[in-house]
């Protein structure tokens, strides 16, 4: 009866789209984290390892990978655009602030994570640009010999990128470790409000389930953040 396009033009539609893209991004994070977990098991001095083979496998997907990357970029940009649009509209909706403003507590989910979504979101956006630039388009991307090794893949001698070497080297720098860990803590806060909020935005919520889903979403968000931030710490102290 009504077109899907109208959804971009009102608050309910914007919220549903924010939720859908947010859940998709959370799904991506879980897959990304699963890939990263191989880094806990490998020998960094040997380029023939599970992490490099996984990266090579993704790279070999070719067109499929490019389509997936464009899709992911689009989801990321829509999510960021909507977040900023919601924030700007909020400022227009109450131009004169309260002299005194206090949360009632109880059912309220107002707190550090929910009130800082725009700040954590913008920092995550900046981090993602730097992160992709550093790892994906970093040393080895154009086949530099120092970051390339010949490995036997499925019976054939194949040149693959030694991405684990770059990861190992990057986290020798304590400043990089500290910044990375700090950003992952912010990611934890973003997901703490984000995951449950996405479910509420998609209408997957009822009064009895809300406390359970709120708790599970929080635990999931914190686990994802911990998964990502343990790695640089471990590499710094062991590699």
């Amino acid at each position: 009866m009504y077109s899907l396009l109208t959804a971009f033009q009102n608050s309910v539609g914007r919220k549903i789209l924010t939720g859908v893209t947010g859940i998709a991004l959370t799904g991506f994070l879980i897959v990304h984290l699963a890939g990263n977990l191989t880094l806990f098991t490998i020998d960094y001095s040997n380029a023939d390892n599970a992490f490099n083979r996984y990266a090579h496998f993704l790279h070999e997907l070719g067109l499929l990978l490019i389509v997936a990357e464009i899709g992911l970029l689009a989801i990321f940009l829509i999510h960021a655009y909507l977040g900023i649009a919601i924030y700007l509209r909020k400022r227009k909706s109450r131009p004169e602030a309260y002299k005194q403003f206090k949360t009632r507590g109880g059912a309220s989910k107002q707190g550090f994570s929910s009130r800082t979504m725009i700040v954590t979101g913008i920092l995550l956006l900046l981090f993602t640009v730097s992160h992709v630039n550093h790892f994906k388009f970093g040393p080895g991307w154009s086949g530099e010999a120092e970051y390339t090794q010949v490995v036997n893949v499925g019976g054939e001698e194949t040149q693959i990128r030694d991405l684990s070497k770059l990861v190992g080297e990057t986290f020798q720098d304590p400043i990089y470790v500290i910044v990375y860990v700090a950003i992952m803590i912010l990611l934890g806060f973003h997901l703490r409000h984000g995951i449950w909020s996405a479910l509420q935005s998609l209408g997957a919520m009822n009064k009895k389930l809300t406390p359970v889903i709120y708790a599970i979403a929080g635990i999931l968000g914190i686990l994802i953040a911990i998964g990502f931030l343990l790695l640089p710490i471990l590499i710094y102290f062991t590699v």
């Binding site: 009102n10 608050s11 919220k15 919601i86 909020k90 909706s93 998609l202």
Partner: protein
């Protein structure tokens, strides 16, 4: 009977085009039995005796069913008490020499009229956009002539308890009207009488909410916490489900 002295900081603003400010008042002789609004009556009597302009504030039933008394008390819509409107808050919750800040609802969609009175007709326009049924209900039907499940009737009744006071908007950090609109949409969606306009109701009410200049919902749930009728944000989730069904 002992009485208290209360120090008030009240928002005074002549009209929308004049800037307002918090003005200090010392209200003596406040009884613990007074409601918050009676304390304001008491203040206004003292002001009028001195020849000053009384503080304008909205009020009608003074028993928590009309939704007129819109006051943000110490930063919380309707004050610190759970599940009540400002008129149901009594001075027994305060101590002698307490300082209380009182401000109006603040939202672009609720333009300032004077002091603590704002224009909440935006809610009426959202309601008029789709919060009605067109079926001829006729005379009172026999009970159970139209089957409604217990769960639906209970939840629809919870949503129908909304008194349209606007506390949800006032307390929302984004000034969103999602709880009000969600309660109205979800109330009708759960009842057989609401089925005829089900799809166009949610789309029109959501679009009207947008036109009025309310903010987006960020799922802070502050609205549920301050709602004098304790309406759950489940109604907002239901409004979104209704919206998705209507546009797909």
């Amino acid at each position: 009977m002992s009485t208290m002295t209360i120090n008030l900081k009240v928002w005074r603003q002549k009209n929308a085009s004049t800037p307002g400010k918090l003005v200090d008042y010392r209200v003596e002789g406040v009884s613990e039995h007074m409601s918050f609004l009676e304390m304001f009556d008491h203040l206004n009597e003292q002001l009028m005796k001195k020849g000053e302009e009384p503080v304008e504030f909205d009020h009608d039933c003074r028993e928590g069913i009309c939704g007129s008394c819109n006051m943000v008390i110490d930063g919380q819509a309707h004050g610190p008490q759970k599940g009540t409107a400002a008129c149901q808050l009594h001075m027994r919750h305060y101590k002698n020499e307490d300082t209380i800040t009182v401000e109006p609802w603040r939202a672009t969609a609720f333009p300032m009229i004077r002091d603590l009175v704002v224009d909440r007709s935006a809610f009426d326009r959202i309601q008029a956009a789709g919060g009605y049924i067109s079926v001829n209900t006729g005379a009172a039907p026999d009970a159970h002539a139209v089957p409604v499940s217990k769960e639906d009737s209970d939840i629809a009744f919870d949503y129908a308890a909304c008194i349209g006071c606007g506390a949800c908007v006032a307390a929302c950090p984004n000034a969103s009207a999602s709880l009000f609109t969600g309660a109205k949409v979800a109330q009708f969606a759960r009842l057989p009488q609401g089925q005829v306009e089900r799809e166009r109701r949610v789309v029109r009410m959501v679009e009207q909410m947008e036109k009025e200049g309310f903010g987006d919902c960020s799922n802070y749930a502050e609205c549920e916490a301050v709602c004098p009728m304790e309406i759950s944000i489940q109604s907002i989730a239901e409004m979104r489900r209704e919206y998705m069904k209507a546009i797909t």
